[in-house]
Amino acid sequence: MGEHKLLTEHFGTEGLQTLAVYERVGGYQGLREALSRFTPETLIDEVKASGLRGRGGAGFPTGTKWGFLPKDVFPRYLCCNADESEPGCFKDRALIDENPHQLIEGLLIAAYALQVNTAFIYIRGEYHDQRLLLERCVEEARAAGHIGANVLGSGFSCDVIVHGGAGAYICGEETALIDSLEGYRGQPRLKPPFPALKGLYGKPTVVNNVETLSNLPHIVQRGGAWFKQLGTEKSAGTRLFCCSGHINRPGTYEIAMGTPIRELLEEECGGIWKDRSIKAFQPGGGSMQVLLPEHLDLPLDMDAVAQAGSSLGAGAMVFMDETTCMVNVSMRLVDFYHHESCGKCAPCREGTYFESDLMHRLEAGHLTLEELHTLADICDNMNGKCFCPLGDTATWFVMSAFKAFRDEFEAHCGAGACPVRTASAQLVTA
Amino acid sequence: MLIEIAKGMAHTLRVMLRKPITVQWPEEQKPVAPRHRGRHILHRYDNGMEKCIGCELCAAACPVGCIYVGAAENDPANPVSPGERYAERYEINLLRCIYCGYCAEACPTEAITLGPRFELADYRKERLVATKEDLLEAWPNMAQSRRSPSDHGAGADQTGRASEVPGLSPRVAWEDGIDSSASPRPGEYGIPSHVPRVISPDEAEPR
């Protein structure tokens, strides 16, 4: 498994954010080829053949998703989901910061494949600078004839609109994103009907992640078969991993799928900081279940990680060293979900509130053992009962941490303070 | 035989000297048991506010339906009870009450309890319909003037309320007819005059 720099190949190139530099390193060649060599149908087949799976978290095969659009309903819409809000995730920001035109090119290729004449980039409210950058790049591309009527003289027309969110985590959920884009409260919609049938303004809509779209220029240029041989059987291509936590070199790393996690930790991230040992890590971002050091030898493969009881999700990797209190981490994550719950369904709205209240008391060491079981029961009552995955995922980390570090959770009960923090304070001073 | 008589007389003599158990009520009063269930009391908080919030749970719990509550909205500037609601009218038909204490059990604010008073007798049935003023705990600086029981309240079947008394509700059942000149004579127009309204057999469907 060597390093395959695909999306990040030209990262760091001076002035890559301008059209001129991007075109000099081969930019918009993918779009040209897509428009000249492919029909929309063959392009969808090519993406299907590449085995590209969505990079937003669910890992749904992109070509299959495109195939769900009804054949003869127009207009259709394409949304780029740049509402990257998962705790521990920052790859989309890197992609936009470093190579915005790559995203716009991918978006246009997808728009051509789907025969969409209006494509949106929904970017989260906190990415203010990135939004301005994207808006500038879109204007630049429009001036160059890449966006607008008759893209590159092909007869295909597509407009791109950059829309800023207002800072709600839930708007990363595709139907909530669509609601927000339409100007309503960002709250998930009832499925079915799925967005592929009735999405934005009641029309067929595809929502794709930034990284997914950024892959498209490369698939078009080098072929789906080439892309498929990168990575593993079921997880094709490379992926960007956002590594953070107690490591020496946090950052975004592009790695071929299938590489062992240990390799990512040791070689790219430079190992755990301060020569400490790893206690646990969380792949996929704040939603996903915790994994233990023995899982470090798992390959970076969606199915392998799923078998271990977690998920690669949106490609975040949070490493925690031995001084970390798992109760504290759980509490912080539950607080996040409590803050971000949209309030649509009762189990999530009230459940995260209850969960957060219990976690705060647990962290402070004021919970009884009986109430700890209440916490487990509350999580069980939420998981799988909520309207959208937000409420479900609000329980996943807590439940997995409770299972893996039960002693630690029980030690907190009635302790009056966090026992781990007390112990690690000694470790640090020693 | 003689022995038996002597035994009996001995017992009689022995008991004769004891203090009698009976008391000369009403001249003499006997303390009642602390949990005696006598006439109801409506309690107040220490600041004088009424505990009763007019929720009508007592009326719902009452097995004989002798409690009537008419609630109203509190004036926030001058509240009668804490919260939004208070009992504007509260009546108990003491003649119908069986003193079971369910009302006290149902009360969410412990506003009503059954008190020690059991001497309930009067020459007029109407006076045995206790109104809120009768039942409320006495409190300094609080007006305690008694209102007569409401028209349709707990004592509607006891008060023998005259029809069309000015100031009362406009509605009367026409069995109450005092004015025989206005009400139809029995048999007139084929109407039996002892029922409040005409119900023909065809109409006897559940309402």
Binding site: A346, N381, K385 | A59, T109, V172, G177, A182, P184, R197
Partner: protein
């Protein structure tokens, strides 16, 4: 059981089979699991689901287990598919219900004793039936919101009690389209509020407390008036207009406390307008006529009913003998029941033998049943509906909601045009399908002209919004000078309402019988003063005092519409029962008995006095009413042909 759950081959009946808790049913395609369970008599608790609104599945109370599905499914949003096997009795479903109720009660105040909804609250009921019984949450940690926020003079909002089922916001989105209520904030701090804090202005606010499953939205006019267990509930028909909305009359202490809606999908679709809903309690304060009175030159005196009836008959006979039968006129009103109308027109035509009878002031020449051919529910089947002027919707406000439903859910084109619109103003109409034309009685002529033009190219059905609760019944049963019962021809057309009054003032008519005239008399008070001065005999049977009752030579009290039985016909011809909800406010018999007694005194003995016997007589004479039965539409031949 297992054999039942998997039928070998589904019959080709367009239905789908479903098994819920071992009971099977075949239901129409697209039926939701909640509706199917209702058919099977299995209770699935719901908060957010509402039969008149699209599912949202936010409360998660209705989660049930569906075989072959990995997660529990919301029954309110899951359509039935062939062979679906649903379980509501499994332990995981019961635990989920407990869990959801615990969540809903987490931040719900312990308000029940002072809450107006207590006793008819879904949260109370379901918590009692499915709830966890004990709370595991410290009560001190509850999130607090504003209590008792007045949203308008009708509605009060308690944001703390709200369980965020969204029914109210969806009601404004889907049913009225006014979008006055919105959700604000997010997560556990989400609350319902008016848009930009403005007071509600809708004409349909009264429905909000009814659709609210808890006590968050309450009716300020009913606030703390009664508990549900105090109320005596009587089925009735809203007396405010001719739309005929079905209501429940809730009374306590012989007073009407509120009107509650009673769903009739063919008429009101469970929505009432505020005008109608508020009219109920206002009846308690209406001034009433209580005793029969005789009045002559020497003064007035209270008498018994029999004396009054005898005096009325005697004086009417005298007038007839002196001036002939056509010197007598009979006026009814649109607030009389069909049975009263039937006796009154019979009294005029056979006992008094006068052609002068009417129930309103305006003359309606060439009246026919084709004016009333379109049914309320049929609006949804039209391709387009033309509404002339704003009078129809002002007269019958609930019509607006039916038009909105037809427009948004059925795609019916609604054209609201000025009352005097001609063909060119209406514009393009769909070539195919039924065209509905709605007007009120003041725009009758325009509607007739427009319908004539349209019918050359389209199939047109008309709806005329009549006035008064029974204006349609009065027309159907011939309380008109130019049309007999069932729109039959009359030998000699008499004078219409206003002409009767003018003729009375001029001395051409000397004897007048008026029943329920207080409805229309307010608009013609000066004329009535001249009428009263000129008449020899004025017999008034009425509930409320007015210019006529004060001048009556014979005055007999009547029963209000809540105090008597009978039927009324709404504007589309639906014959609906009214029932006594209150004892009458007077000690006199009902109008029907007085009329039959009056007829007997006039020499026509043997007329029935009981409304059910009269009804039997009138359905024999008017076959359309026999076909309509109770709750059906009276369709006359001409209308069927149209």
């Amino acid at each position: 059981m297992a054999a039942d759950t998997t039928p070998p081959a589904a019959p080709e009946d367009g239905l789908v089979g479903i098994t819920i808790d071992g009971r099977t049913a075949r239901v129409a395609k697209g039926t939701l699991v909640t509706d199917a369970s209702a058919i099977l008599g299995i209770h699935i608790p719901v908060y957010c689901a509402h039969p008149k609104m699209d599912p949202v599945a936010v409360c998660r109370m209705c989660l049930v287990h569906v075989e072959k599905m990995p997660k529990l499914q919301p029954a309110c949003a899951t359509p039935v598919s062939e062979g679906m096997v649903v379980s509501t009795e499994r332990a995981d479903v019961a635990k989920t219900r407990e869990g959801v109720l615990e969540f809903l009660l987490l931040n719900h105040p312990l308000d029940c004793p002072v809450c107006d909804r207590g006793g008819e609250c879904d949260l109370q009921d379901f918590a009692f039936r499915y709830g966890p019984q004990a709370s595991r949450f410290p009560i001190t940690e509850k999130v607090h919101f504003n209590k008792a926020v007045p949203l308008s003079d009708r509605i009060e909002l308690d944001q703390e009690r709200c369980i965020l089922c969204w029914r109210c916001t969806r009601y404004y989105d889907e049913i009225t389209g006014e979008k006055e209520l919105v959700l604000q904030e997010r997560g556990v701090h989400t609350l319902v509020n008016t848009f930009e804090g403005k007071p509600l202005t809708s004409a349909f606010q009264g429905n909000l407390p009814e659709i609210c499953p808890v006590g968050a939205l309450t009716n300020r006019k009913y606030r703390f008036k009664a508990r549900p267990w105090d109320l005596q509930r009587t089925k009735g028909v809203c007396p405010t207009c001719s739309y005929g909305c079905n209501i429940n009359i809730d009374s306590r202490d012989f007073e009407i406390k509120r009107f509650a809606s009673r769903d009739n999908p063919l008429v009101d679709d469970m929505w009432l307008c505020d005008r109608g809903r508020d009219s109920g309690p206002s009846w308690n304060n209406v001034e009433r006529i209580r005793r029969p009175v005789l009045r002559d030159a020497t003064g007035s005196r209270e008498v018994s009913v029999s004396e009054a009836v005898a005096a009325a008959a005697r004086s009417l006979r005298e007038v007839r003998e002196r001036h002939g039968p056509s010197s007598i006129a009979v006026l009814g009103s649109a607030e009389n029941t069909n049975e009263e109308i039937w006796l009154l027109q019979r009294l005029a035509r056979t006992a008094l033998e006068t052609p002068h009878l009417d129930h309103q002031l305006e003359a309606f020449p060439d009246i026919g049943p084709e004016e009333h051919a379109l049914g309320i529910a049929e609006i949804e089947q039209c391709a387009a509906v033309i509404v002339l002027g704003d009078e129809p919707e002002r007269e019958a406000p609930v019509l607006t909601l039916r038009l909105f439903k037809a427009q948004t859910k059925r795609g019916v084109a609604i054209r609201r045009v000025v009352a005097q619109a001609t063909r060119s103003l209406v514009g393009e109409l769909p070539a195919e399908g039924l065209i509905g034309l709605i007007a009120d009685e003041t725009n009758r002529e325009h509607a007739t002209a427009l319908a004539g033009e349209l019918s050359r190219s389209h199939q047109v059905r008309r709806m005329t919004v009549t006035r008064g609760v029974n204006g349609r019944g009065a027309k159907d049963l011939g309380m008109l000078p130019n049309s007999g019962p069932g729109y039959t021809a009359v030998d000699q057309a008499g004078k219409a309402g206003r002409h009767i009054l003018e003729a009375s003032a001029a001395g051409l008519i000397t004897g007048l019988v008026v029943m329920g005239g207080s409805v229309w008399s307010a608009s013609v008070t000066p004329l009535l003063e001249r009428v009263a001065a000129a008449l020899e005999v004025l017999v008034v049977i009425d509930t409320r005092p007015g210019p006529l009752s004060r001048a009556a030579t014979v005055l007999i009290p009547g029963h209000a519409i809540f105090e008597k039985g009978g039927t009324v016909t709404n504007m589309e011809g639906r014959v609906q029962r009214v029932r006594p909800a209150l004892p009458p406010a007077t000690q006199t018999p009902s109008e029907t008995r007085i009329l039959s007694a009056l007829a007997a005194e006039l020499g026509a003995a043997g007329w029935p006095g009981d409304h059910l016997l009269i009804n039997r007589e009138l359905v024999t004479a008017v076959p359309a009413y026999a076909r309509a039965g109770n709750g059906g539409r009276a369709l006359f031949e001409a209308a069927v042909r149209a």
